[in-house]
């Protein structure tokens, strides 16, 4: 049984068909790309998989369990975490809190412990903090732990978002345009980093990206959508030479640049 199985996923916004009959299978450790022109429905697909929207039709199965109808926190707890196209950190909170709060579903102590602060509470909180610092250290962000998230430069905020997603202990990580707004140097670091995360955390990664350099270099398979429909699926080489893809991207510089 594949880890993730998406069957006939379809979504309408009123009369607008944003996603139509989307299908995908992913295994542990896969790195899959999702590309398509602006407004093609990519972010909507992530929103459907994570439960932010409920699909009009179709199924999302994680290890065979249907996630459709579950609330987002339940889906995240089962192992799917994401970042956002436009950064959605908790701005006023510290970087450390941003990471720790993402462990909400792993907290064992109850309401009473959270008020009385017994030994069990401290043992667990200490562990939460230690793990958070370990994560931040991996991203070179441990020095900024006590800084408010909003005070970090854009590139670092992107990293905090990835670290926050990892703190939920996902098996599948969804990245929505992680390279947006980064300079070429930062993008190279990011590519390196995504592959390192996959190795170290043994996860599957599914990435939406406009930067073809990223997609073509790190993804094993690429899905291309246009107007909500899948128009191609294959290896980077196959996608590069697919006439329908080239047509969909006609006039979009990003593709030529790859």
């Amino acid at each position: 049984m594949p880890m993730l199985q998406i069957k006939h996923l379809t979504h309408y916004f009123g009369g607008l068909r944003a996603v139509y009959d989307f299908n995908l299978e992913m295994e542990q450790g896969d790195l899959v790309g999702l590309i398509g022109p602006n407004g093609a429905g990519k972010t909507t697909i992530f929103n459907l998989v994570t439960g932010a929207y409920r699909p009009t039709e179709g199924e999302v199965l994680l290890d065979g369990e249907n996630l459709v109808g579950m609330r987002p926190h339940e889906i995240t707890t089962r192992g799917i975490a994401r970042t956002f196209q436009t950064i959605r950190l908790w701005n006023e909170l510290s970087v450390l809190d941003n990471i720790c709060i993402a462990r909400a579903s792993r907290i064992q102590y109850g309401l009473v412990d959270s008020i009385l602060h017994g030994k069990r509470y401290w043992d667990e909180e200490r562990q939460i903090k230690r793990r958070a610092f370990d994560l931040l250290a991996m991203f070179g962000l441990d020095k900024e732990a006590h800084e408010a998230a909003k005070n970090l430069p854009y590139g670092e905020q992107r990293k905090v978002e990835i670290a926050r997603a990892l703190a939920t202990e996902p098996r599948l990580l969804l990245l929505d345009e992680p390279a947006a707004g980064m300079n070429p140097g930062e993008i190279s670091d990011l590519m390196e980093f995504i592959q390192q995360i996959r190795r170290d955390f043994n996860l599957a990664i599914w990435i939406i990206e406009h930067q073809m350099r990223v997609i073509m270099n790190i993804c094993e398979r690429i899905k291309v959508v246009d107007f909500g429909e899948t128009i191609a699926y294959g290896t980077p080489e196959e996608i590069r030479n697919n006439p329908r893809v080239i047509e969909a991207y006609l006039g979009e510089e990003a593709f030529d640049a790859a």
């Binding site: 994570t50 439960g51 932010a52 609330r71 987002p72 926190h73 995240t76 707890t77 975490a81 994401r82 956002f84 959605r88 950190l89 908790w90 701005n91 006023e92 909170l93 450390l96 809190d97 720790c100 709060i101 993402a102 462990r103 909400a104 579903s105 792993r106 907290i107 102590y109 309401l111 959270s114 008020i115 009385l116 602060h117 509470y121 401290w122 909180e125 200490r126 939460i128 903090k129 230690r130 958070a132 610092f133 926050r164 997603a165 939920t168």
Partner: protein, 347 residues
């Protein structure tokens, strides 16, 4: 050594306030002012959990206060006072002393259950339903009490003075002041500890970005219900304390939207999401109300004006979302022991 500063400070305050009242170092008027300060701290800190930390807008705090006030007064009068409606006392007066805090807690639980009834429909869907529903509930609670003749209807409910007198007859101590002090400490302790836990900080994540919180595994609906019940429960506690004050009398007119507004004003003056701000503001506002008492109803001209001035010059309140210990780090020696251990553990 440092870790004894806070307990020592609390002890000094307790002995000063309670001992001072007992020995009549300050007169009954000042005892009343201190009592109101304590009650207002409970109200302000508890409302701050919702309107400040969680960023929702509850405008019916007085409604939940009323639930606690009536439930606890009915219980104490029924159990410990000779009353026209409830008959002779059910239990001997000596039981009133240990049972008084239990009854206060029952009043708080009743208010928090009322909060649950409000929270379920309000938090089912996103949006600003809470403001409207709490506003409505404040009116409903007031009208419901007005229509219950058994508990005095619009004329109000009396008899609590007899309860307090009976308690004082068994052992003479400023019982209400003692329990108000403890209730205030408990409120600060509960909110501060809860909001410093990773579990409780999910509330701030909800304020910052609710959708991101839900997607990052925070069970936002459950957390919002818990926070709201906690806040309403503490409002009920404040109500119970208030009802047993020197007047020995409550009426539905006390728990109007004006009272709710007063609490909201204290929250905004102190700073949204600042516990120490709420404490300072509750103390300051109580004093201000007393200073303006000679003005009668005109104080409701002066207070909104002050609020406008405040919004112009310091829109985020006295402390903003900071704590006193952030502004004066030296105070951490007294108030910040717990956090400090924490930083060490983490590094």
């Amino acid at each position: 050594m440092k870790k004894y500063y806070l307990p020592l400070l609390i002890l000094v305050l307790f002995v000063g306030i309670v001992g001072g009242s007992w020995l009549h170092v300050f007169n009954e008027y000042w005892q009343l002012v201190i009592l109101f300060m304590g009650i207002n701290i409970v109200l302000t800190v508890s409302l701050n959990l919702i309107n400040g930390f969680m960023g929702e807008f509850s405008c019916g705090h007085a409604g939940f206060m009323a639930v606690g006030a009536y439930v606890s007064s009915i219980l104490t009068v029924w159990l410990f006072a000779d009353d026209k409606i409830f008959g002779p006392p059910v239990l001997p007066a000596s039981w009133a002393i240990p049972l008084f805090p239990v009854i206060l807690i029952i009043g708080a639980i009743a208010a928090s259950l009322a909060g649950l009834l409000v929270a379920i429909p309000s938090f089912r869907t996103r949006g600003d339903y809470l403001a409207i529903i709490t506003l409505a509930v404040n009116y409903i609670v007031k009208s419901a009490i007005e229509n219950m003749e058994v508990i005095g209807g619009p004329r109000g409910f009396v008899g609590m003075k007899r309860v307090m007198n009976n308690m004082a007859a068994v052992f003479d101590a400023p019982w209400l002041l003692i329990w108000t002090f403890i209730g205030m400490l408990a409120t600060i302790f509960i909110i501060r500890n809860f909001m410093s836990s990773t579990f409780g900080k999910g509330i701030e994540a909800i304020r910052e970005d609710e959708i991101a919180a839900e997607l990052m595994s925070v069970n936002t609906r459950r957390l919002k219900v818990i926070a709201f019940m906690l806040s309403c429960g503490l409002a009920g506690l404040a109500g119970g304390l208030f009802a047993h004050g020197p007047g020995g009398y409550i009426n539905p007119g006390t728990f109007t939207i004006l009272k709710s507004t007063e609490v909201m004003v204290m929250v905004y003056l102190g700073g949204m999401g600042s516990i120490s701000g709420s404490i300072i503001s509750a103390i300051g506002f109580t004093l201000l109300l007393e200073l303006l008492r000679p003005l009668g109803t005109y104080k409701w001209v002066v207070i909104p004006l002050l609020l406008v001035v405040m919004m112009l010059f310091r829109p985020s309140g006295i402390l903003g979302n900071k704590e006193l210990t952030d502004v004066f780090p030296k105070l951490r020696a007294i108030f910040g022991a717990e956090e400090e251990n924490y930083a060490h553990a983490a590094n």
